[in-house]
Structure formats: C-alpha cells, structure tokens
Symmetry: C2
Subunit: 436 residues, 2 copies
Amino acid sequence: MTLPFAVDSSACLEPTLGPDGLPRAAFEEDLAALAATSGRLAKARADGSLPILQLPDRRDDLEAARDLVASLSENCSEIVILGTGGSSLGGQTINALADQGFGPPKGRPKLHFFDNVDPHTFDIFLERTDRSRLGVVAISKSGTTAETLCQTAILLDALRETVDEARLAGHVAVITEPKASPLKALAERFRLPCLDHDPKVGGRFSALSVVGAVPALMAGLDVAALREGAGAVLDAALAAGQPDPEGPAGGAAIAVGLSRLRGVSQSVIMPYVDRLAFFGLWYRQLWAESLGKQGRGTTPIRAMGTVDQHSQVQLYLGGPKDKHYTLLRLATAGTGGRVEPELADDPSLDYLAGRTMGDLLEAEARATGEALIRNGRPTRWFLLDRLDEAVLGGLMMHFELETIYAADLFGVDPFDQPAVEEGKVLTREYLRAGPA
Amino acid sequence: MTLPFAVDSSACLEPTLGPDGLPRAAFEEDLAALAATSGRLAKARADGSLPILQLPDRRDDLEAARDLVASLSENCSEIVILGTGGSSLGGQTINALADQGFGPPKGRPKLHFFDNVDPHTFDIFLERTDRSRLGVVAISKSGTTAETLCQTAILLDALRETVDEARLAGHVAVITEPKASPLKALAERFRLPCLDHDPKVGGRFSALSVVGAVPALMAGLDVAALREGAGAVLDAALAAGQPDPEGPAGGAAIAVGLSRLRGVSQSVIMPYVDRLAFFGLWYRQLWAESLGKQGRGTTPIRAMGTVDQHSQVQLYLGGPKDKHYTLLRLATAGTGGRVEPELADDPSLDYLAGRTMGDLLEAEARATGEALIRNGRPTRWFLLDRLDEAVLGGLMMHFELETIYAADLFGVDPFDQPAVEEGKVLTREYLRAGPA
C-alpha cells in the first residue's frame, strides 16, 4: 500500500520560511539521532514488546468485536459509548467518518459518546430516550475510572427499570483489562459481554485496538482498511536508514527544534475537513498527555478551517510568533454545490460565481497557509487525495509515532501520565467528606 | 439585579499562589490604571458612541426579531443558521442553553449552525433534509463574507427546487448591515425579511444583539433576561471608583500581568458545564481576535471539565508554567442520577457509593482547581449557583469587558482585525485563477 497522504514541511525550515524557521542543520541533526529510535521501535514491533505497533497487523480480535456489535445493534437503536479521554476520542474520531451529526448511516444504531459527567446532559438524554432500545458500551482500561463507573452505574440502574435483568447482556457491554476491577465486577455480576483492553496499550494509543474498532463496526466502517493505512505509515517510518524528513520523525524534529530554538510553545493542527474535527481533539490528547511532563512539552491546539480563520487567524498572523501550524487539506476542488452565476451577479463576486463549495474550501486553505508563511509562521501541509478509513488510520499512526519520536527528543516517557493522580486522590477525599 | 455569579482570583496572585503568582503591587497598579478605562466606557455608554454597551438596555429591536422568528418557525421544522465567527458563535452559545444535541425544546425548530464550507457536510445535510420545511438565516455583518455568500447561494438554489420563489420569504431571512452588499442584494431580489446588523457592533461583540437574539428566540429563550444579566455586570464594572479586583478589569490585570511578568502566554477557560462548551469557543474568538495583533496578545484555550482532565491536565500540571486557568463551576451537588450503593459494592468505590453525578462533577472541579494551585498554576474560579439566560448574559458581558480592558493594557485596538485581510485577498486570487 502506498502512503495515504503527502506531507510538505519545507515552510517550517529556514531556507524556505526565513529566519523564523528551524535551521536545517539543527533539523538534520535531530533527524539523524532519531534513526536510533526507529531501530528501537522496529525491534519492539518484531519482538512484541510494544503492542501498539502490532495493532495494524492484528485481525484476530475482530471476530469477538463483530459478534458484540451485531448483538447490541440488533437490540438497540441508540448506543451510548461511555468512557473518557483515550477511551472515547479514538472512537469519536473514527465514527466521524460515518456520522457528521445528521444521524448514522441507514440501518445503523445512533452512537452517543458520553465522555463527561454533567447531570443535566444525562437527565435530558434519559428523558428523551426509549430505554427499551438503548445500548451501552462502557470503556475503561483500568476499570476504575470514576466518571465511567458513575455513568455505568446510573445507566445500568435506568435500564433495569425497563429491561429484564436477564436480558441486560443484550444491551450493555464492557471493554476493560482482564484483571479484577470494579467495572469487571459489574460485567461479571450482570454477565455482560466483555472485550479485553490490552493492558500494554495505553488509552491514548488505543484507537486502532478494539476500543476504536467497536464504534467503527457499529458505524459500518472497515476496520481492516483503517489498520492497513496505519500499517503503511508504520512500515515507511521504520524502514532502515535515516528517517524520512516528511515522516513522523521529521515532524518530531521540527516541533521539538522549533520549541528549543525559536520559542515555539504551541502546535496548531488545523484540518480543513469537518470529518477531522475529532481527529484534532484526539491528537490534542495524544500530544499533551504524552509530552507534557517534567516542565517540558508544548501545547497542542485544535483549530478548524475555514471556521477559525474567523476566530483565531488574526492571532495566528498578528500575535506572538509562538506557534507552528499543521494544515490538513483534502482535494475538494470541483465538489459540492455550485454558486449559480445568476445568484452571484455582482462585480465584487466574480471570484465566486460558478465556483463550487469545494473550490472555495481549497482556495481558503491554500490562502491561509500562504499568509502564515508570508508572515514567518512555520507551516506544514498534509495533502489528502481522499478521506477514508485507510487515510485516517495512516494519519493516526503518523501522529502516534511523531509523538513517540518527540518524547525521545524531549527526554520524557510518552506512555505515562504521572501528574493526574493528585487530582484523583483529591476527588475521592472530597466525595468522602461530602459537599463543601 | 445582583451579579449572577461569584469570582475568586486569589490563587492567581503571589500571596496565595506563591512565587508563580502575580505580585500584588503589579496587579494593583494595573487595576488602578484601568479606572480611566472604566470612566471612558461609562462615558461611551452614556453618549452612545460604543453601541455594544447599549445592548443590555435595548428592547426596541426585539419585536422585529420576534416576528421574523414566528414566521420562519411556522414554515420550517429545521433552520440553518449560516454565518461564521462572530455571526455564529454567539448564537451557538445561547442556543446551547436549550439544546444539548438531543434535539430542540418541544414545538421548536431544530437549529443547525453551519459555520464552515465543507461540501461533504452540506451534501449529506441536503440529502437527508425535507426542503419543503427547511429554513435559512444568513448572517454576515459586512454582507461580503465569502463562506456565507457561498452557503446562501447554494441553499437558496436548493430551496428553489422545492419552494415556490414567491414563498422563499417564509423560509429565508438575512441579518446584515443596512448598506448595499451582495447579501443585501440577494435579500432584496427575493424580498427576504432582513434585520439590520448594527455597523458599529463587531461580529465578536454581537451576541447580545439580534445576531444572538434570533437563534435565542427560535429556541424559546428569554432574551430580556440575557440582556438583564449582561446589564448587571456592566453596571457593576462601570461603577465609579477603583475597579473591582474580581470584576472584568481585575481579570484583565491578571491576564496581562501574568503575561508580562510570569511568561504566561496562554489563557485556559475550562467550564465544568456541558452547556458552556460553546461559551468557551465564543470566548476563544473574542480574546484571540481582539488582542492578537502587533505581536501581542495571548492564546485563549477552551478546555472542558471533566473531559480534559483525561486529555490536557497532565500537560497543565506537569508541563511548562505558561498558562493561567479560569475554571467555571456550577452548583450541581445532589443533582442527577445516584450511584446505587449495591452497584458500587467494592471497597475501592466507597467514595462513589450513594453519591450523585452532580456530586462527582463538583468534586472533580474542586480537586482539579486545587491540584493546579498546589502546582503553582494561577487559577481563577467562576462559581455559578445556577445557569440560565441571566447568568449567561452576565458571563458574556464580563468577558467582553475583560477583553476591552486587556486591550488597553496591551496597547491594542480590541475592535479591529487587520491581519485577516491578506488571506481574503489570496482566496479571491486563487479562485479567479482556478484549481492549483
């Protein structure tokens, strides 16, 4: 499989961007250093010590996932995916290929991703929903996430009012590690179907596992194609020799180099594709939680084109030079509705008359990228010929690897999240003590 | 009317936060300087030279808005609000009080805010929608916004296939400045109802005008209460004497002071309220576009609690000390579904058994705030007893004023956006030249 997209980072480097760019020598030095990381990752892929690198090649986990999805989809017309952070964002990202907010593909259940514990939202949802056709998939790697347990207990209780307890297994399923946990205990008590979350696949790296596959299958998407796209990017990235400057290692070298040498503290990802809105949020967790430690890391920012041209681009062009930009552009020229010339019968609208919405979207993306570059803002392009499961899988693998490479350059462990424990301990203390 | 919320900024200042906080002397000096700004704003409110300050007191514009809403709501069961940036975010923010994504209040039309020009999204929407019951409100202050004109032309054309041209006025309306423009010309050609956008009210400051009132009325919300809440905050902010340290001037002095003296380049707003998700995006435009110029300004970031505890809080606690935090907490203790003790029958879940979802949400917010403060991160609280139109209006006015005060301290004009013109010119060039 050829790589499912093209990357152009030239306008992040000094020769093209000018003095705000990263010096080429610094870039090449970091890129050369990352050959060692590629070697380590290739070894880990071969010996199985880093299971996220096996995910693209796995198919053995899909039969159980398909059975579970078939059973829930038969009994339920609306399915709530419970879970937060990495247990939700991957699924939301993939599901967005099939559902743009106007309902699911025909014959598929409507998916709701509840990743928060706002009682108002839950109350309204339950008021409006036919519980006899309601499904739930509770996802928590550890099986101890407070929000997910609270959501699950409340929905189980609500379902019991309508669905016979013996039939709950047709409505509720769980994805969690095999070890004993409160969520696992609930699954056992109600004999709920349960898929294993690999203990060695962290939540924010789990999109290509069953965690993303279950929502994907519910939406009728092709999980094998998703993984094939990821595999193509992985193969290319781990090929022997100096890493590709336009591959994940190159992206890491640019982000970390700009942070060290040019004071770039923020990394903006800006898809000009509605279906990639959640992809930006998925990346935001991946980058922040993997790198933000020991006082290091940079802030990932999800922007959307063209929307944020009317919100953030004034700051991006006119504010401090503390950001670099990754713009994702899909080939849309000639697609979509056309502006009838007689409806744009105004000399000032000559540029729009006869053009399609896809023409406008592409022109806006190109113009914003060009304006950023002219104003000395490091800008990288991802150019997509199409958007499907393989392209999305490839993008996900690209950014997972870019994050792992960047962790090596920052000198941090991309797989832990030590700082969040303090808040969890305090939450339990406050709840035990009762309302303030 | 008393102020509809309480603010606590103590943990942004040195005495409480420690050495990462803003020195009290610097804070008080900036606050004192802002008394002059308050005086200038009070004068502008009195003499009408800054119409955004009159909006809280206006009611004369609502009758025409109500008539337009009544007519569209009678003919249409789905209404698309076209517009981008400030023409959309205010409406989305207000509408979120009534619609959490599970459909509109009973008997009201379903609103769709289309602020992008992705042809895929438009095509799917049109495929799935009954055009005979479709409504459109096109909002563009200047009447020249390329995206809005493109959207409007395509939807007008689609509607003409189903709705008799003489009846289009019952389906499509326009909000734009009174002067001649391509959008105004379309309105005149099809005799569409048209509300005036005040030429002196910039898009990002227009939420309290008809731009926000039309969607609010469609959703059945109380626009007078929204404006009353805004008025209460405005009255308090412009009262004579040194500005309130917990009012908008105090917030501006903290944000700008931390940026100057403590290297804080990013301002995170984090509501623990689903209904304020769009409020965070509205604020993000307001702050970025008003202040990001001449190399100045800071980056506004919308986070959501508790969701982003599982995505961004590792970075917030463990990453660089380059952010300050505004957490919005609603009194939710005791509300929502309860975790039945028999479903949390596990020693490790003692903290959850018998608690409500609202208990958990409040405890998580308090815990995250406390963890930020313990880790030397400047953190401000907004405490809301309830969330309704008055509270939302008050919050909007607070942040509009905070932005205007901050502009004075940064030395920039909050009402212009000079940098975005370059991209607009390039877009037109590219479209005239045809696909790349």
